[in-house]
């Protein structure tokens, strides 16, 4: 339901002065006619969409990738990306959601399913026949960078099996791992735990579920709301107790902070408490550093590292703390990408009809990475899907900034992506 209260983001359409700055900077409108631009699809079309009205299919809005560059540059505060997301949900509610989008929305279930037999799952998914089938039948682009299940167990498995070795302390943080860390990249979580413990924090990993972002992006709002309410029930008490909830997946933390409450019009106390207690990991580490509390006993890392701040990290609107903190590592030469978007935009670039668009959008970033020199070992990026897209587009491995930090503390092997000392 749109505009159901004055707090609903739909009413920010009134701020639009039709100035076209958003369309100027939209990375998708720059490469395709299929997306008529954020001004058109957002505040302009919104005046033609209302509750209880027959829905215009307006499929053009489906080509919005949700990168939120439009919000960033809008001088009047129109919440364009959110408006588009809600419009998609309105269409989904009327026309239904294609099976493919439901599948892509169920990150957690897919992750869990594959984690029982990861090698089999990897083999089953990552072969040319399966990929072709997935493209023809499901509409999942055969070349798109789907992740591999971790063959060394999930992040949860690791936490359980190493629980005796985990630091106990009066200083505590909650770690929100997200589906990718849990099922595909537990080593990112391990690096995060290593960094946090190195700084004297006990890391609590309470029961948690998918943030619901893939469902929000695909317009499946009722299911996303169920997820968010469950997370709120599970996590808000930590926030209330003043224990920061930090996450390495910058998309997940953005969802918990802002996207879920705003898209779903959830404004009650518990939801609000949770919002105010969630931090992007580097946002939190920067805060510690500002207070003189971050350990800076870094070993040199003599690498040139192109860094890309994902759209959803920028949407936190806290600057680029990962950039600042990586620059503390001696010997490192961090090169900041100014490209708008890698193109993948969550589940967007996996869809057959959008794959080409995503690769065209990402071209500027891929070129930038290559332009940093012939001997780039790794690029750095806070979002998992962006890393996979960057690897796909450049052929160069990508790492989460926390992996560099952990390596600089001497706790982590960047190449092998594993902790160096026994846990």
């Amino acid at each position: 339901m749109h505009g159901i209260s004055w707090q609903s983001v739909d009413h920010t359409l009134d701020a639009c002065i039709k100035c076209n700055i958003c369309t100027t900077y939209c990375p998708v409108a720059a490469v395709t006619d299929l997306f008529p631009g954020p001004k058109y699809a957002g505040p302009q079309a919104q005046r033609f969409r209302e509750n209880g009205q027959p829905i215009s299919p307006d499929h053009a809005v489906d080509y919005c990738s949700g990168c939120r560059v439009c919000n960033e540059v809008c001088p009047t505060g129109v919440r364009i990306a959110e408006m588009n997301a809600r419009a998609r949900a309105q269409i989904a509610a009327t026309e239904g959601i294609p099976l493919r989008n439901r599948l892509l929305g169920r990150n957690e279930l897919l992750g869990m399913a594959g984690s029982f037999a990861p090698r089999l799952a990897n083999f089953g998914l990552h072969n040319p026949v399966s990929r072709l089938l997935a493209e023809k039948v499901m509409g999942i682009a055969r070349e798109a960078p789907l992740p591999r299940w971790s063959v060394d167990g999930t992040f949860g498995d690791w936490m359980r099996s190493t629980r005796r070795a985990r630091l106990k302390s009066n200083k505590k943080v909650v770690y929100y791992h997200g589906c990718a860390t849990m099922y595909y990249e537990p080593f990112v979580g391990q690096a995060a735990v290593a960094v946090l413990e190195h700084n004297g924090y006990e890391v609590i990993v309470p029961p948690q579920n998918c943030c619901g972002l893939p469902m929000l992006s695909n317009g499946e709002f009722p299911a996303a709301e169920a997820y968010h309410r469950r997370n709120t029930a599970r996590l808000s008490s930590y926030a209330r107790a003043g224990i920061p909830i930090v996450g390495t997946s910058t998309s997940c933390t953005l969802t918990l902070k802002e996207e879920a409450p705003e898209l779903l019009d959830l404004h009650d106390d518990a939801v609000h408490t949770l919002r105010m207690g969630v931090w992007d990991l580097f946002e939190w580490l920067q805060e510690q550093h500002d207070q003189g509390e971050l350990r800076t006993d870094f070993r040199p890392i003599e690498l040139t590292v192109p860094y890309h701040a994902p759209c959803q990290q920028r949407a936190h609107r806290v600057g680029k703390p990962a950039l600042a903190l990586l620059n503390l590592i001696p010997g490192i030469d961090v090169r900041e990408s100014h490209a708008a978007c890698c193109g993948i935009a969550g589940t967007y670039g996996y869809k057959t009809e959008k794959y080409r668009i995503a690769m065209d959008v990402g071209a500027e970033l891929f070129d930038f990475v290559h332009a940093q020199g012939p001997h780039i070992a790794f690029s750095a990026c806070d979002s998992e899907t962006c890393r996979w897209q960057m690897e796909h587009g450049t052929g160069i491995p990508s790492r989460h900034p926390v992996e560099f930090l952990a390596a600089a503390y001497g706790l982590y092997d960047l190449e092998r992506r594993s902790l160096v000392s026994p846990p």
Binding site: M1, G3, I4, S5, W6, H11, L13, D14, A15, C16, I17, K18, C19, D33, P36, K39, Y40, Q44, A45, Q46, R47, F48, R49, E50, N51, G52, Q53, P54, I55, S56, P57, D58, H59, A60, T76
Partner: protein, 582 residues
């Protein structure tokens, strides 16, 4: 006075191109009369184009003015069929706010039953589910079949239907005098002298009967035959909110008064209206207290509305007639008034039809043409209640239809007015068939400039396009055939696709710089009363475009003016002390 250079003979001459006049022309043409309709400006320039767009269920008058209510109930049903595509089925609520308790709601309910007005009481919770922004403290809600009407489209298609039945429609022709003579001591009206507003040619129209449907100007016309018809202009001010906050017509359940209705009309929500007696139906000033009142009253139905973006303010005049009336115009009847001047004033050949409301235009026309038949001594039955105008196959208006059509036909790149989704083809089509003395004429046809930017982007584009086509037209003149223009679909992005796009504006002399300046001024006129917040910022951007970028106040032809230039310059801004000396 110049001697007329042209002569037209007709059976019925209709004066006034609003809903009433075009309705009369349509009805009379269907009955086989040879009809000429004249309008001094563009169709709907008067009251018809300046109201809030309500298709009355009748609920508003059910207690206070049952006769009006009965007419509305009857006509509401008919118009939904005959003018289907001009109507949006919004439904309507009569809501009881904390200020509206007392016995009125029960009287309302009883009166609905008595008059046969479909009305069902629903729970406030149900109403709030449908309209989440409604005042949560509403205690009772009655649902009725109000609708939203597009009077621009309705008048145009009615005019087209009249033309298809043989009528001639002449816009931008002003009646400068009525022709009268005396036969056996009995005075009669024999026709009128028309003056074209831009070309200045005079035409003499001779008719067996003249029907004065000039609305608020009816008195002015009647005076030309020496007849006193006192039409009380009741000014009504309305404001439009930038986007639809409700999708149902919301009325306060109380005696009708100022600011007690919100109508979702196309992409905006209109809060209306005031009722102030004025003397001049032309030069209307919108007072700050009127705007404040609309917002304040709107707040009672939709709390928070006074912080939303206001898009525009305008005023129309109700032509209110009541023999011997001298009180508050709010209490003047809204019922229609048909004056047979033969019996009333001893003058044959003239009928005046005034009063009424848009919802009853067809009925007014029927009664008028019935009276015309009586005067002319013929018996021809009315068929309008069973006759659909062109375009009804499109079905009722729905909010998303333009978005849908632009999407379906991939017309995004063709949009000229992006705010209201007007394509280049729609604009060209309208310009080719509707004499374009100002861009406001096109605005009424296709909604050019009616969105948030109030012409900021589309004024320039429209002028540029019309200019291009005028040059092409000079090389390749085309004959106008009204049958080719699918007026019924003039608001539809999908339809003009099949039309020839290289059509030019039907203007006597094409002056692009004048068109530009006139329309910028016309848009400004309607925003100054409500200019603050986001809309003020918008206007500043529009100033950047037209002053800094275009330098529009230093274009050639700065001395030219159109028949509307002075009208547009009359704004609600109070002249007087100038705070800025520098």
């Amino acid at each position: 006075m110049k001697r007329p250079t042209k002569r037209i003979d007709a059976e019925i001459l209709v004066i006034g191109g609003g809903s009433t006049g075009t309705g009369v022309a349509w009805d009379a043409a269907l009955r086989g009369f040879k009809v000429v309709l004249v309008e001094k400006r563009d169709l709907t320039h008067g009251t018809t184009g300046r109201y809030h767009g309500l298709l009355h269920s009748g609920g508003r008058y059910v207690v206070k003015d049952p006769q009006s209510a009965a007419e509305c109930i009857h006509e509401n049903r008919i118009l939904r069929r005959t003018h289907a595509h001009c109507i949006e089925e919004t439904g309507g609520f009569f809501v009881v706010t904390p200020e509206d308790e007392g016995d009125y709601p029960d009287r309302f309910k009883a009166a609905c039953v008595e008059l046969g007005l479909p009305c069902s009481e629903i729970s406030p919770a149900t109403a709030l589910r449908r309209e989440p922004l409604l005042n949560p403290r509403i205690s009772r809600v009655f649902e009725v079949n109000d609708g939203a009407a597009d009077s621009f489209l309705a008048t145009h298609v009615t005019a087209q239907a009249a033309q298809l039945a043989g009528a001639q429609i002449l816009t931008y022709h002003e009646v400068v005098d009525l022709l009268t003579d005396s036969v056996d001591g009995e005075r009669r009206v024999t026709g009128a002298i028309l003056r074209h507003m831009t070309a200045g040619d005079d035409i003499a129209v001779y008719a067996d009967l003249v029907i004065n449907a000039a609305g608020a100007w009816a008195g002015h016309i009647a005076r030309m035959a020496g007849i006193d018809v006192r039409v009380i202009p009741g000014k009504g001010t309305m404001i439009a909110m930038n986007h639809r906050l409700v999708n149902t017509v919301v009325n306060r359940c109380k005696m009708p008064s100022d600011g007690d209705i919100i109508v979702p009309a196309h992409t905006v929500a209109v809060i209306g209206t005031t009722d102030e007696k004025v003397t001049d139906p032309e030069h209307l000033r919108i007072e700050p207290w009127e705007v404040q009142l609309m917002l304040q009253e709107g707040e009672k139905m939709v709390p928070g509305i006074n912080r939303a973006r206001v898009l525009r303010a305008w005023a129309g005049v109700r032509p209110l007639y009541q023999e011997g009336f001298s009180g508050d115009t709010r209490n003047a009847t809204r019922a229609l008034a048909l004056l047979d001047h033969q019996s009333r004033d001893g003058v044959t050949g003239l009928l005046t039809i005034t009063g009424g409301k848009w919802t009853t235009f067809r009925l007014m026309a029927e009664q008028t043409v019935d009276a015309a038949c009586r005067q002319l001594g013929v018996q021809r039955p009315c068929t309008t209640s069973q006759t659909e105008v062109p375009g009804v196959e499109q079905g009722h208006y729905w909010l998303g239809h333009r978005l849908h059509e632009v999407e379906e036909h991939r017309l995004q790149g063709d949009l000229i007015c992006e705010c209201e989704l007007v394509t280049r083809a729609m604009l060209e089509h309208a310009a080719a068939h509707n004499p374009t003395v100002t861009l406001d004429d096109l605005r009424r046809d296709v909604r050019l400039g009616m969105g948030p930017c109030q012409g900021g982007f589309c004024t320039y584009r429209a002028v540029g396009i019309l200019h291009e086509n005028a040059a092409a037209q000079e090389q390749n003149p085309r004959q106008d055939d009204h049958r080719l223009w699918n007026i019924a679909a003039m608001q539809s992005p999908a339809h003009p696709m099949t039309a020839n796009r290289k059509t030019a504006a039907q203007t006597p002399a094409f002056e692009p710089n004048l068109l530009l300046r006139d329309f910028l001024q016309e848009r400004w006129k309607g925003v100054t009363p409500i200019l603050w917040g986001s809309q003020l910022k918008q206007e500043r951007l529009d100033q950047l475009i037209y002053l800094s970028l275009m330098n529009a106040n230093h274009l050639p032809d700065n001395d030219l003016s159109s028949p509307l230039t002075e009208f547009y310059r009359f704004t609600s801004v109070q002249d007087g002390e100038d705070p800025d000396a520098a």
